[in-house]
């Protein structure tokens, strides 16, 4: 079970979190149909580092961006949604 460092709550067990999807599979409201179909039905499942959207559902309920290595589960970064790695907004 992963240990995820929530920016608000500190290190917490994976059981408190819910995986939402890879960041690149977020479908915008005005997404074009071919892109939507790709994101829904043919998205990649990378082996290696991947940016993912998680939620600390059973904690502070924040949406979080995890930079996680799907091969060995190393978590390189945990950011709030809307925050960039250098601390700015995105």
């Amino acid at each position: 079970m992963l240990l995820i460092h929530c920016p608000h709550c500190g290190p917490r067990a994976q059981a408190e979190f819910v995986f939402e999807r890879p960041l690149e599979s977020i479908i915008q409201i005005d997404e074009a149909l071919p892109d939507l179909i790709h994101k829904l039905y043919s998205r990649v499942n990378p082996k290696g580092p991947s940016w993912e959207l998680w939620r600390h559902t059973y904690g502070c309920q924040s949406w979080l961006k995890l930079h996680r290595d799907t091969h060995n589960h190393t978590i390189h970064a945990v950011l709030e949604i809307g925050q960039t790695q250098d601390g700015g907004d995105a």
């Binding site: 079970m1 240990l3 977020i26 149909l33 959207l53 309920q61």
Partner: protein, 986 residues
């Protein structure tokens, strides 16, 4: 016979405390400190069970958790635990253990005749049968099912308690042998908080078998001093606790046995505890397991691992044989021979596969040579005997085949470090060709390995390696405590290294069809050779084909012997053959402890609406809806569910009914962009809604399917009230958050989940308006799809005029803590007008009649709004979640399943039935909900039919093969009542 093989003194058993227990119905005696195996062995019992496939007689092979053969069932009824190792079960008063896999009895096993036909069930038998003609499988199946399988699962429920605990420590040490204790002492002395887990009931590991002098103390005293020191520094020691799994990010599962298998727990009822430990550093001091050797009959009762023979003698005071042959490739077996000789046994021969030049120099070998018959370059060809035990051995000595009379064969094929946890943690292994052992190389997580588990040989080095691992762990954690001095040291005479010289080759005369590699799954060396000849090269494939290492012991003793066999066939070194994956758990874990407290009512929360006690007083039939419990019907007198539901629905159609809708999902959506936000979530028009008005609405998933439905109300210009289904409320809450935070963070809006803030009563029926207006006292009730505010029964309420039943209806919302008086006043009014309470079953009947869809019924995750006949509600301009996906060509296929109504021409439409055009035809649709016409009677249903809207008037058969029911149905529009909608308007 009673304890005939017990030594009069010595060992770690308490001879003053006799324990009576039963094995296969016969009463035996043992002593406090005995395992089931040691107590029975002391009583002269040799036969413990029958093997899995061939029903061969099997005895005790080992003295610990690695035992492959002596599996028993322990306990009775709900406490019965199957496949328990007799070597890992400490006896207790009243223990009832039974042997397994024999029929009708252990001594007379009629199925042992399978041995005679074993040539016909070779490796891959199951695969070959599956690929053969199906008829053959029908023949074999009965026979295989009867013969296969080890213990039987109990049928009674387990009444004992299991609990989970989380723990956080600086250092976790797994194993309390000399390495583990030294590591724990060093880490603790450096200031680390240490938790120590030991699967045995005593600390000490190998020291419990081989006493030694450490730091000038008897090992027993050294262990006691170490224990005191660890506890004094705030450490925690868990005995009878197995580290079963090493998971990601430093998490280990420890299984603590509070009771022995089958034993009744104490007053707290606790049988086992699962510890989820996250430690800063983990030190694995898990020791090494001895390997068997290949010779014919190496599975007979009376063939035992050499180290186990010594453990039974030294720890339990049991001499397991009188005339002993030993076969070895290392020095450790000499210690067994010397101990046995000292205890009065006759050593018939020590067969050492090593050449004299390679072996003859060490202290134990030199001591043995002076008084015991030692043969170098010698091997065992076969053990001979029966279910009663070994009678003789056929050996190859100086090139001559020699028969040796014996009653015990002690075997040592070298030692395999216990690397399971290291591998589970993602580590890699290094190979030592000389000793034939894999030991940890690179660690991927925060773990190190010490002692025999790391391939270290000899007590002195073991102590040092543990001590250094403990210091290193503390240093990694940044601790620099002062009191750590020098590593514990042992007397030179006690430092007996194994000096294994791995030799995988059986004697050339060996009958490999009787030379077992995996004892528990009955895999022989000949089976492995056959698999290789049949082309199985990958070790993972061979494992599955032959079932090598797939039994409950996961091949702890056997895997490397099997790998070596494959390597031999390949002509390649062992490491290049590869290893199978090490998976948790290390030893079998009972399902109860994994479930922990989460059983029965604790499996999931039971959510009770605030009016639960009020309903309970009416003695309703309850129905779970998600986690909620809601009244399904309120039977009066002798009514059954259907009679009650019919009466309640009739009351709604003709007078008035009251039901509790407090569990609906409810959300406050507030802010200048509230309308814009809701137009993202809702597929219907929201922005044009006037203040004080509401609308039915649909929420779609991103793939265009309907996710949920509800109503949206404009309470004020920038304030909306959104309802959704009870079961989907949690999902809707997450969805709203996702849309707000991820998709549209720029919108100025807040969303509050107010599901439990508001409680609500729905009033429906021709007299509903009268009920509301009577309670209001003055003024008119809101028009259909309008909202109003006002005190009811003195409580501030919000009144939404919305109908699900098809009648004029209102939902009265009050703060949850204040709903009581409101509910009571409504029910009193309604009853005064001839109305009654109604539950979910009546609601279901009413909504089917109106063709209203429901989440989990028609909203099944596969239906679009158009499939449901609601396509016209959607905003044509799009701009909501799911809009884009509706552009997929498949979404407008005219042959999609479309919602239709079904009227029975004859019979009753079965629930869940298929729609077919003729008997035997491919189904063209299905029934989602079957009900009845409330006022006129008659069977009706809602269902999905391919291209259904173009097939009104068709006659089909609704058939349920599982219920053996069918009905002729006519396809109609999905509304059976008040098509014009006159009933719910003013």
């Amino acid at each position: 016979m009673s304890q005939t093989l017990r030594q009069t003194k010595g060992g770690r058993i308490d001879r003053s405390r006799t324990i009576r227990f039963q094995f296969d119905g016969k009463t035996h005696k043992g002593f406090e400190g005995d395992t089931l195996a040691s107590a029975l062995l002391a009583d002269g019992v040799k036969l413990f069970g029958r093997s899995f496939k061939y029903h061969r007689p099997r005895g005790v092979m080992a003295a610990g958790i690695e035992e492959p053969s002596a599996l028993v069932g322990a306990g009775t009824a709900g406490r019965y635990e199957a496949n328990t190792r007799a070597t890992d079960l400490f006896i207790y008063p009243g223990l009832k253990a039974v042997s397994q896999n024999r029929w009708p009895s252990l001594g007379l096993d009629l199925l042992s005749g399978i041995s005679l036909i074993s040539p016909f069930i070779p490796a891959g038998f199951y695969y070959k049968t599956f690929f053969g003609p199906p008829k053959l499988w029908m023949v074999y199946e009965h026979f295989i099912r009867m013969a296969a399988g080890l213990g039987k699962a109990p049928r009674a429920a387990d009444k004992d308690a299991y609990e989970h605990r989380a723990a956080f420590w600086d250092v976790l040490v797994v194993g309390s042998g000399p390495a583990g204790l030294a590591a724990a002492l060093a880490a603790s002395a450096s200031g680390a908080k240490v938790i120590l887990a030991e699967q045995d009931r005593e600390l000490g590991g190998s020291l419990l078998t081989d006493a030694a002098t450490i730091d000038g103390q008897a090992s027993e005293d050294w262990i006691a001093a170490a224990t005191t020191s660890l506890l004094a520094k705030g450490g925690r020691i868990l005995t009878r606790t197995t580290a079963a799994g090493f998971y990601d990010h430093g998490l280990l599962n420890l299984i603590e046995r509070v009771t022995e298998p089958g034993q009744a727990p104490g007053a707290d009822g606790l049988a086992q505890r699962l510890w989820r430990v996250r430690a800063g550093q983990v030190i694995l001091a898990t020791g090494a397991l001895e390997r068997p050797r290949l010779f014919a009959g190496n599975d007979l009762p009376g063939v035992m691992l050499s180290g186990a023979v010594r453990t039974y003698l030294n720890r339990y005071g049991v001499r397991t044989g009188q005339k002993v042959v030993l076969t070895t490739d290392n020095d450790d077996a000499y210690r067994t021979a010397l101990a046995l000789a000292e205890a009065g046994a006759q050593i018939v021969a020590i067969l050492d596969s090593r050449a004299a030049s390679a072996a003859g120099n060490s202290l134990s070998v030199r001591r043995a040579q002076t008084r015991l018959p030692v043969h170098f370059g010698a091997k065992l060809i076969a053990a001979k005997g029966s279910a009663k035990g070994v009678k003789s051995a056929k050996a190859l000595i100086d090139g001559q085949v020699t028969n040796l009379v014996c009653d015990l064969i002690a075997v040592s094929g070298g030692f395999s470090p216990v690397v399971h946890l290291h591998m589970q943690a993602g580590g890699t292994l290094g190979w030592n060709e000389t000793t034939g052992a894999f030991s940890p190389d690179v660690s991927r997580q925060n773990q190190t390995t010490a002692g025999a588990a790391s391939g270290v040989d000899g007590l002195g080095q073991t102590l040092t390696s543990g001590w250094e691992a403990g210091l290193a762990a503390a240093k990694t954690l940044g601790l620099k405590g002062g009191s750590a001095k020098t590593p514990p040291a042992c007397a030179e005479a006690d430092d007996q290294a194994c000096r294994s010289l791995a030799d995988w080759l059986p004697a050339p005369q060996t009958n490999l069809k009787k030379a077992f590699v995996d004892y528990q799954n009955d895999v022989t060396a000949a089976d492995l050779d056959l698999a290789w000849r049949e082309g199985y090269r990958s070790v993972e494939h061979m494992k599955r084909y032959t079932t090598l290492g797939m039994a409950t012991d996961q091949g702890k003793t056997s895997n490397l012997v099997g790998l070596a066999r494959l390597a031999l066939a390949e002509g390649r070194p062992v490491p290049s053959v590869g290893l199978t994956t090490f998976r948790p758990p290390y030893t079998p874990v009972t399902l109860g402890v994994l479930a922990g407290e989460h059983t029965g009512a604790h499996l999931s929360p039971r959510r009770r609406p605030v009016l639960y006690p009020v309903h309970a007083a009416e003695k309703p039939i309850w129905q779970p809806v998600g986690y909620w419990h809601r009244p399904r019907a309120y039977p009066q007198g002798r009514e059954d569910l259907h009679q009650a539901a019919h009466r309640e629905s009739l009351a709604v159609r003709t007078k008035v009914g009251v039901t509790d809708v407090s569990t609906l999902g409810k959300f406050d959506v507030v802010g200048p962009d509230a309308a814009a936000f809701l137009e993202l979530v809702c597929a219907t028009t929201v922005g044009k809604l006037a203040v004080g008005r509401g609308r039915y609405t649909l929420m779609l998933r991103e793939d265009g399917m309907v996710m949920d439905d509800g109503t949206v109300w404009r309470v004020a210009e920038h304030r909306f009230f959104l309802t959704s289904s009870t079961g989907g409320a949690d999902r809707m809450s997450a969805h709203l958050s996702y849309v707000r935070k991820v998709l549209a963070p720029q919108l100025k809006v807040t969303v509050a989940n107010v599901q439990e803030h508001w409680a609500a009563a729905a009033i429906a029926g021709p007299l509903a308006k009268a009920v509301v207006e009577n309670l209001m006292g003055e003024g008119a009730a809101p028009r259909h799809m309008s909202l109003g505010f006002g005190p009811l029964a003195g409580i501030p309420t919000m009144i939404l005029a919305a109908s699900y039943s098809g009648e004029r209806a209102f939902e009265i919302y009050a703060p949850s803590h204040q709903i009581g008086p409101v509910w009571d006043a409504i029910v009193e009014q309604a009853r005064g007008l001839g109305g009654c309470l109604y539950g979910l079953e009546a609601l279901e009947i009413l909504r089917i009649e109106k063709g209203h869809i429901v989440v989990g019924g028609e909203i099944d995750g596969r239906a679009t709004a158009d499939d449901l006949g609601l396509g016209k509600m959607l905003r044509p301009a799009g701009g909501f979640v799911g809009a884009t996906a509706l552009g997929r060509p498949a979404m407008s296929d005219p042959q999609r399943l479309q919602l239709v109504g079904l009227e029975a021409i004859s019979g009753t439409i079965p629930e869940g039935s298929m729609l077919v055009t003729a008997k035997g035809a491919v189904p063209c649709g299905h029934v989602t909900a079957a009900g009845m016409n409330v006022v006129q009677g008659g069977s009706i249903a809602l269902g999905f039919l391919q291209g259904g809207r173009a097939r009104l008037g068709d006659v089909l058969t609704a058939t349920s093969p599982t219920r053996k029911q069918a009905a002729q149905v006519k396809v109609v529009a999905p509304v059976f009542y008040d098509l014009a909608g006159d009933q719910y308007r003013d």
